[in-house]
Symmetry: D2
Subunit: 486 residues, 4 copies
């Protein structure tokens, strides 16, 4: 059986020997660290729902592998149809709904599918053997039910220069040594969500490359506790609240996400785990396909988190006793409208997907970029409306310690309750959840990541220009206007 | 063979004896009237593309009937799958691209599918025979390849009162007499696009109704030249330019759309053409399904027109010699982004469609309403950007008569050309096309109809509230926040 | 007495011998032409209100001249204080409210004030005598109460090339001959509103110029019936409705605005009417100041028209019987909010005005550009909301001929009335007014001119970048962040 | 001399005996508490700039008192002209620029001016002596240069019920005992910024009241360390970072703002400090005037903070090496445009101010509400753009501890620097400043307070509806449309 339970997943992480740094120090037990644990819990949900008792969830969370014929976790699946693409989005919405956080495992799934089809096309043209290597790696991940981190973004240095032109040659990850049995790589990948909860990392180049960038045109995988590899955890808004041991003030006490910088300090990669090694002309294809899949993803996961934010806003309005005011209802409608617009884009780019040469399915690239472009806007407006509906107390809410304080407690109870039968504690809980998603640690995932994850807004605009067939549209207009040009 | 050519369609219209009034007078020959003809040409395109030489178009424009087994025009088809729903949207985008106008035949297709499933459910509950009646009518329309106008909107009178409470009982269309062989109906339907280009009209009630509104809960069809039925054509922006006999100034000289008020001045309807007659409790279902299908439609047709507007804006930028300016490119990207967002919504509500009890497919109602809500906003912003890209001359462009004038002609040539090898005439043609869609007769279809067609913005918001499952979202939030209520 | 009445103004126009072409033909009597007359009526209002019986209006409409000491029409006034600048905006709002159209006389007022201060600075640097020339011209205009058209925009040809580099040297207006007593000019000015209702035209260069563009760096005035000067009238949306002799269908039967192309086919300008002649380094100053004043103007005039549109929307909602619906009220509030935001920008750039070297007052350039930038957006959104509030009938309204038709009349009365005691005629009147401003001839002034008048959106953005002191803002941020750079 | 220096201000706070609770415990030394101190520093700036060496600042920061004839801090001034109102806004922008935070003292200034004019009108009608009481209090505050907290917002309980109808009668602050020498008050005021940095608090009622709410219609002042009065500090996003003793991670290490709940647990108020006591019919006037002044304030302070955010975004773009990209420049322009639009509204409502019966100047209420309404929207969009310009590292930035860590430090230096000569530290500093304002403790002031401070968005919309003269606008429209009604 290829599926792990959540409990087994946690145990599997404990067996790893990852080097994780935070606040300048090594974290001895990342799995149980109070700042990192909510992030582990989010990934765990991808296991729990796939092995749980709800058959509706299990069907959505799993698929039959084209490689092994076994039922595998959909996060390790190679999409075989547009239905698979649509189900991916629905699975992501579901997980967003139950975690209200980034559950991190999508980036590996999206990398799987991008590398799968690109290696096939490299092999076709270059006579290499990357696709077979990669199929074996995927089959292993399916068999072991591994969580894999897809790693793309390099530090980049001077953005106006190509990789090989940088003062510091390590600004893009590169091959520093070639051996008969493999390669040695050096560099770093930034903004990695979920890396410290993953079993393996799958590395891809970050942008288009030229002939002189061959050493930078590299794709491979390795275990997250490989020698020479370590991570430094980025700090999020309100991160240390998780150290306080309270439940209310963190807003979402169980789930979260973290990001880190991953450093490859001369890591050896054996030949069988290499999926690109110098074929620079395929860097763009791999990047665009990964980015395309990942831009689709945002039409699912952030919509699920948005569902929680809408619900929280509606509860806050109930608790404030104003739920029947027409402007309140209208603001909730606007939130739903924006949320479902993003979802529509996620569904549409999936339903319009096409088969690649390798046999897996690729989303419609234009619509996937349109999807992500909307995600760079709407969660911000939704967070604004949520803060509006929450009322001013979302910014001035007293602490759980005040609620529990001997002297302060009764006063908090008195003046933070409201007159419609709601306790101060419940009001504080919902206000803190909204704060979590609009200002707190959840906001890093819900807002900032919506902006920059899978590429910043301008990256999508470049793709929309390229995919939007402006020349074809000009012909339509000239035909209607009866324009004849010489 | 069930398919008419465009030419045969025109001939079929000539054989009808419709009563059409315009500017207070009867129009003797509606088919050849210069104000009405562009509207006929738009509908004609639905025939030409279905019977043309481009097999790609023919496949999209036709489908195999579930009633007759024959290949029929998709505009008369009962949707048998989500693929049918998706293809409907693609067909509409295609027709928008080639007409840059409203091609009017969708309203009948949408009415077909709404009445088809609703009559089935009425019969199931009430033991009536409407569904069989209706299947025969649809089969006839498929066989004859009829264009059918779907008619819903009543004049409404005082909107705060139910139909039976109005001072003037005719403010909603109603049954005024019941005979053994049929009924006599009286009233009017407003905002009818394409009625004067249609063979039959299919009437539906316009809103939810109560027990006292039984006479108003009526659905039927009749020929557009039935006795007692006549139309008065509404006037559009720039309508009389079509009488000037020029080509440039109208912007879109070949295609257009018109709207009219249809009056039913005691029209007799035989029993076999009655599809609802007093079953008031099904009025809401018929209205919501028709509105749902028609809100989906806007995610196709207006996107196609938008493609033309984007193309025209790009041509105008070329002609102004500024196409390479980054702000120009960015504005075109924004237009494409907005347009494809609407399209995504059209595709998504189709791909997420579900089978009804009657066997045909219904779009996802929530997403269809979200689709239309975006259509009430984005074409306006796209028209604004188009005017921006066109430059000030879109508002001050000289007339074709000036271009042709003996004295003025050379001056127009000199000062309306530009320095990049474009003739004054071609600049004027593209400016007039943009004017047509942003201010002129095309703007009635592209802007105003986008706002109010298939229901004004607030109508969608009511549906979004109803379909948005706010209670379920509250539960999600309470679970994350660990809220327990007594 | 320096003030003309409206009647005297009309008579003064009749005495002129202007060459006006329209639809390829010479207009024999421009003052009484049904297409041009509404435009004359709008300008006339600037006279009527200044000489009327309402002392509040008279105070706003007039000022005491710094040149003559006499009370003059404010449209001919050289601003002497920030109070004058504020009153200018209030006067413009008033005229927008009473005409719902462009009243055209602002462009001359704005040109007066830009040329006044620029000529002073040219003389200071170059030892020329332009300022004295110009003071005399202004004094004459004040004495005679002339309407003056300010003319700036050249046809421009290839926009990527300087004036002297154009294939056709006439793409920018230029001096073609220099004589002892004056100069001969050739070229054209586009988008001239109100030229055919003006006594004189005041010409300015249209952009920054270099040493080789000296012949193009020219500013002067001449009568509108000068030899060699003629105009071709641009055609607007719905222009020919004014020829139908009806009142309802035009929406605004009394007032309007028109634009034209003015051709200078070798016009002689005597020395005393020359205000720049080769001092290319002052072209930018004149352009930026004129544009600045004119961008301020839009914070008054369009706000006044917006007041009418808001009122019309509120009346339409009343007539539809839905005025009490909360979403209707909210949309009216949004219209007011947008309108008053534009007004605030108009007031603010005035209140923050500064004295120039010449002694007159210049608006704050940054805020004036911000003002206009908002005007390129908000009227479009206001028009969209207005169409929403109007209901679908704004696009399908029957004609006045239908209302008056023997057969159709009673049916129009029956089905276009509503149930709350409003006549079909009054509903049609308000719908047509909204159509006029959102799609019809008024929309050219309210929408397109808001976008491009006084410079297209990008022109303001360039100025905002230049005036926004980004470097100073960087210092603020570095101070807060305690950043020290080497 | 009436002006304190910043140092004297700090000393004056130390002499007070305020009861401040935080995290459930009493804060022994609020002045030096690391969480509260940045808030003190912000207020201190209002003293430092008023007594500093920059004469330009001193002129803006001070004014000549109408009560004492002495030069006083403008924050204690009763506005004597529209110039005073404009200067208030400019002073606020200046302070926003130098603190990038809420400097808290505005609320007292706004309360001063609202209570000043309202007490005058109460006395006129009711024969009371409140105005004289209040003049003495203001004169004292001017003489001592006190910081005064204006307190309005009650906990409110069930918002659908009037104060006297609440289950818990203390949900609105009220008089519980009347004595010959004064009154005893009980209740609480929520969302009080700056209370723990203030010398006195000036209490006002929070909404319109009826005859049965007399005990709730109360206005008075008392020292912040009065017996029975205590505060509980609300917790903000990232509040405890200030306890870490680092400088970079807090983003703005020197300045901030805090909010608290103030409890009046039976506080005695002597007669001379009472300014309303039962005159319920004046509650609305006091509320609307205070809200009006305070909505004006946001057009100054948040604009100043916005200047810092724009600057920080520009620095981040510089540091990322992308400052010349056209989309980057355009986004900075958009930020400036939005910021200056808010400023324009602040200036406009000031310049259009009017004298009250008491002699001080009141802003234009319509424009002040329009101002605040924009402030509920634009800072959110500006924060979104700032995060866009900052790049993904704004969400994943490593900690100062990582930068200082023995092992991690060199890696952070290597991979968080960029290739254009910027140190990792400086990049981190600017990223943390942007995080502070978009997600961190500064975001509570910049975003949430912009939304809810001085009234939530809907409160302004109610006022815009009331002040927008819709009836007058209807008349304008009917006149243009020539509508005659019976």
């Amino acid at each position: 059986m290829a599926l792990m339970t959540g409990k087994e997943y946690i145990e599997s992480l404990r067996k790893m020997n990852m080097r994780v740094y935070m606040f300048g120090k090594k974290v001895e037990n990342p799995v149980d660290d109070p700042i990192l644990r909510p992030s582990v819990n989010s990934v765990r949900m991808t296991y729990d729902l796939a092995t749980g008792t709800n058959p509706e969830y299990v069907n959505l969370m799993t698929a039959v592998s084209n490689l092994t014929g076994e039922r595998v976790n959909r996060f390790t699946h190679i999409h075989q149809s547009t239905e698979d693409l649509v189900n991916k989005v629905k699975m992501q919405r579901l997980l967003g709904q139950v975690t209200a956080a980034c559950f991190q495992r999508c980036v590996g799934m999206d990398a799987f599918n991008a590398v799968y089809s690109t290696t096939y096309e490299i092999d076709q043209k270059c006579g290499t053997n990357y696709h077979e290597n990669f199929r074996k790696f995927v089959a292993l991940c399916q068999e072991k039910d591994y969580t894999v981190d897809g790693a793309m973004t390099d530090p980049k240095g001077d953005r106006s220069l190509a990789p090989h032109k940088q003062d510091d040659p390590d600004m893009f990850l590169r091959v520093v040594e070639r051996r008969p049995d493999g390669i040695v790589v050096r560099g770093a990948k930034a903004h990695q969500t979920g890396m410290c909860n993953s079993h393996h990392v799958l590395v891809m180049p970050t942008q288009a490359m030229g002939p002189d960038d061959k050493d930078y045109a590299v794709s491979f995988s390795c275990p997250c506790d490989a020698e020479g590899l370590f991570m430094i955890i980025g700090r999020q808004s309100c991160d240390t609240r998780k150290l306080e041991g309270t439940e209310i003030d963190v807003g979402n006490s169980q789930f979260g996400g973290v990001e880190c910088l991953v450093v490859f300090d001369d890591v050896f990669i054996p030949n069988e785990n290499i999926y690109m090694n110098g074929e620079y002309e395929f860097a763009t294809m791999m990047v665009e396909r990964f980015a395309g899949y990942h831009r689709q993803s945002y039409g699912g996961c952030k919509v699920g988190v948005g569902d929680v934010l809408i619900g929280a806003s509606a509860v806050a309005a109930d608790y404030n006793g104003v739920a029947k005011a027409s402007h309140i209802k209208d603001k909730l409608i606007e939130m739903i409208h924006l949320n479902e617009t993003m979802y529509s884009c996620g569904i549409a780019c999936s339903a319009e997907g096409k088969k690649t040469a390798s046999g897996n399915y690729l989303i419609d690239l234009l619509l996937a970029n349109v999807c992500k472009q909307n995600v760079t806007r709407f969660p911000y407006e939704m967070a604004r409306i949520a803060e509006d509906l929450a009322g001013g107390s979302v910014g001035t809410c007293l602490s759980e310690a005040d609620l529990r304080g001997e002297f302060t407690g009764p006063w908090v109870e008195k003046y933070m309750k409201n007159g419609v039968g709601v306790s101060a504690e419940n009001r504080m809980r919902i206000l803190r959840l909204i704060e979590n998603l609009s200002l707190g640690s959840g906001a890093v995932g819900y807002r900032t990541e919506s902006l920059h994850g899978a590429g910043s807004p301008q990256a999508q605009r470049v793709m929309i220009a390229r995919q939007g067939d402006i020349e074809g549209k000009k012909l339509l207009a000239k035909r209607i206007a009866h324009i004849k040009e010489d």
